[in-house]
């Protein structure tokens, strides 16, 4: 029995699968309205937004050197506001606005990446500073001078804009089929089949060794921070479309959720270790947890509180395992 328990804890995927199953059964039995096709597919909509951010966080943490991105929530917000203001206030072409929004995300990620990899500033400081800078910019962008000095949400979008966030194909949300799954496949290819993946794991697990084997460590890091910006931007676009509104506080606290999911999914906070499969399981667990809590009528603030517990608890567990493996 103890050996079996040990095995379950040692095998991350098995552990996550079990956790997911338990949550699923508990909520199905205990929470009315949980086990319905509508609710289950509806849940995946929310999962996409968190999932893209968690994948962004995974890439950055994998790259090591204290890799972390605290600014994903702010990047998401600024992208949402850029898209919202361009379409809703300026009256720009929607497709072009979305493209510009995504480019803004890439740009923000690129700036983070340059500061981290070329100026060699700790990721924690870079992204803490950029968290506040991007958030502040989003607030400034959100000000509509016609209605006074306060930041205002934008919600007058054309009907076509809602496509990505609200439409379904065969009952499955559009963004799951046409954004999330392709992104997962591309990242899986990059990490598992392409040389980039080997570089990334190499840089994350031993920077010096990677450097001596001729890997351009700085380029690899710059790439992952830039990709993180792009993923956060995709998430921002999808949320804006789903809730039909670009709000200047939309991404608040998302960074913690994204980091938690990545870490819960088995990404080692020190870098170099972690898989896409694990992170996807993490996304599923947290999405399920949120949805169940919400249907059970627990106040929203406890979603963040319970996530904090999961974050600290799962890293604690990781470290305890690591300590045991050493003996």
């Amino acid at each position: 029995m103890r050996r079996m328990l040990g095995q379950i804890v040692e095998n991350r995927m098995l552990f996550l699968l079990l956790l997911l199953l338990i949550l699923f059964i508990v909520f199905s039995l205990g929470v009315p309205g949980f086990f319905t096709f509508y609710n289950l597919t509806n849940m995946t909509q929310y999962g996409v937004e968190l999932g893209l951010l968690a994948l962004a966080e995974m890439l950055v943490i994998l790259s090591g050197g204290g890799g972390i991105d605290l600014s994903v929530g702010s990047m998401l917000t600024l992208v949402a506001m850029v898209i919202g203001v361009l379409i809703g206030r300026v009256g720009f072409n929607p497709s072009l606005s979305i493209l510009l929004g995504l480019l803004a995300g890439v740009g923000m990620g690129y700036v983070n990446g340059v500061l981290v990899s070329y100026l060699r500033i700790l990721p924690l400081i870079v992204t803490l500073a950029s968290l506040y800078i991007y958030k502040s910019l989003a607030l400034i962008v959100a000000v509509d001078p016609r209605f006074g000095p306060n930041p205002m949400p934008v919600s007058n979008f054309p009907e076509t804009f809602y496509f990505v966030g609200q439409f379904r194909v065969g009952g499955i949300p559009f963004q799951v089929l046409f954004i999330f799954i392709p992104v997962i496949l591309i990242l899986w290819f990059l990490l598992e089949k392409h040389a980039f993946g080997r570089y990334l794991y190499g840089v994350g697990s031993n920077e010096t060794a990677a450097l001596f084997s001729g890997i351009d460590v700085r380029r690899v890091r710059l790439t992952v921070y830039t990709l993180a910006g792009l993923l956060a931007a995709l998430s921002g676009w999808i949320i804006t479309s789903r809730i039909a509104s670009a709000r200047p506080d939309i991404g608040l606290g998302y960074e913690m959720q994204a980091i938690t999911i990545a870490v819960l999914g088995g990404v080692n906070i020190k870098g170099g270790e972690g898989t896409i499969g694990g992170v996807i399981m993490g996304v599923a667990i947290i999405t399920l947890l949120y949805n169940g809590m919400q249907l059970a009528g627990i106040h929203q603030i406890w979603q963040l509180g319970s996530l904090g517990l999961v974050l600290v608890g799962s890293v604690f567990l990781n470290q305890a395992l690591l300590a045991r493996r050493k003996f």
């Binding site: 924690l124 500073a129 950029s130 506040y132 980091i259 904090g308």
Partner: protein, 314 residues
């Protein structure tokens, strides 16, 4: 100290910046030099400066604490609730600091004994504490605390707020502590080279626990000052406060890589942040750009450090 090293010191640069900004603001705005504005500035600064003492030590050990904002909120709630129940002032002071200590010990034990990275622990705690605080307040706010306590927040001695006097005394004490006491030196040793520190007999886990616990107590006290000054506690009290404290410490020359920094520098950093915020309000710069300015300042000061470090190596 030779003249050259004095000019190269970070404290000197920050002090110079403060003087320049003070001159600029007093020339461009009428109210900057007024007694009421300066008092206000010091009142707002005191809490930041007190928390910055603890944060300086944490960052010197190579750690970070992003939960101080939530901790400040929590101790304000506890203090506020007790005050509304007409508890004796001494009990309130002890309770606020006690709650802070408890939270700091939780952070510290997880980091020192659980080997969980500081950013993970404190990021999680930021949200856990905020949820608990919300539960305690039940979505309402506390306002109109009894006047007995407000002397800590608003009282003055020789024209300077009492809270600022306390902050200065604490900073002097902890400056001495860091420079001359064995535990203070152990904090630097831990940040510079943990392995060497361990071999020379420093108890790494206990030193780590100490800095987080101490920060908790100091933040608890700052929470009390906050209630005493404003008389109000809300569910979002203290949100974003962590950035202000970290900004003060980093601007004051404490290296985020650990091993280097002074509490005097952090006090100057706190002054710099405070003056900038104050000046922006007086100049009618929208509050929205506050994050932009402080974030950019942090980056600039760190970039300067990086460039300087390169120069030193040559």
């Amino acid at each position: 100290m030779t003249r050259r090293t004095l000019f190269r010191k970070r404290e000197f640069t920050v002090f110079g910046l403060i003087v320049v900004l003070a001159v600029v603001f007093s020339l461009t705005t009428e109210r900057f030099l007024s007694m009421s504005n300066l008092t206000n500035l010091l009142l707002q600064l005191a809490g930041t400066a007190i928390c910055a003492i603890g944060m300086t030590m944490i960052i010197i050990t190579g750690g970070i604490d992003v939960s101080v904002g939530s901790m400040l909120g929590m101790s304000s709630v506890v203090a506020g609730k007790l005050l509304m129940g007409n508890a004796p002032v001494l009990l309130v002071v002890l309770a606020a600091m006690g709650v802070g200590l408890l939270m700091g010990l939780t952070n510290g034990s997880l980091i020192a004994y659980g080997k969980v990275p500081p950013i993970i622990v404190t990021l999680g705690m930021l949200n856990i504490i905020r949820s608990l605080l919300f539960q305690l307040l039940g979505g309402r706010w506390i306002s109109g605390v009894p006047p007995a306590i407000r002397v800590i927040g608003l009282g003055k001695w020789l024209g300077i707020p009492i809270s600022m006097w306390i902050a200065v005394l604490l900073i002097l004490f902890f400056s001495y502590f860091l420079n001359s006491r064995p535990l203070g030196r152990a904090i630097y040793a831990l940040g510079n080279n943990p392995e060497a520190a361990r071999v020379s007999g420093v108890n790494l886990a206990r030193t780590t626990l100490f800095v987080y616990a101490l920060t908790g107590v100091l933040v608890g006290f700052a929470g009390l000052i906050y209630v005493a000054r404003t008389g109000i506690v809300q569910t979002n009290t203290g949100t974003g406060f962590e950035l202000e404290v970290i900004a003060a410490v980093v601007l004051g020359g404490t290296s985020i890589l650990g091993g280097k920094g002074t509490v005097i520098g952090s006090l100057l950093g706190a002054f710099l942040v405070g003056i900038i915020k104050n000046g922006m309000i007086l100049l009618n710069v929208p509050a929205l750009s506050e994050g932009l300015v402080i974030g950019a300042l942090i980056l600039i000061s760190v970039v300067i450090d990086v460039i300087r470090a390169r120069g030193e190596r040559l």
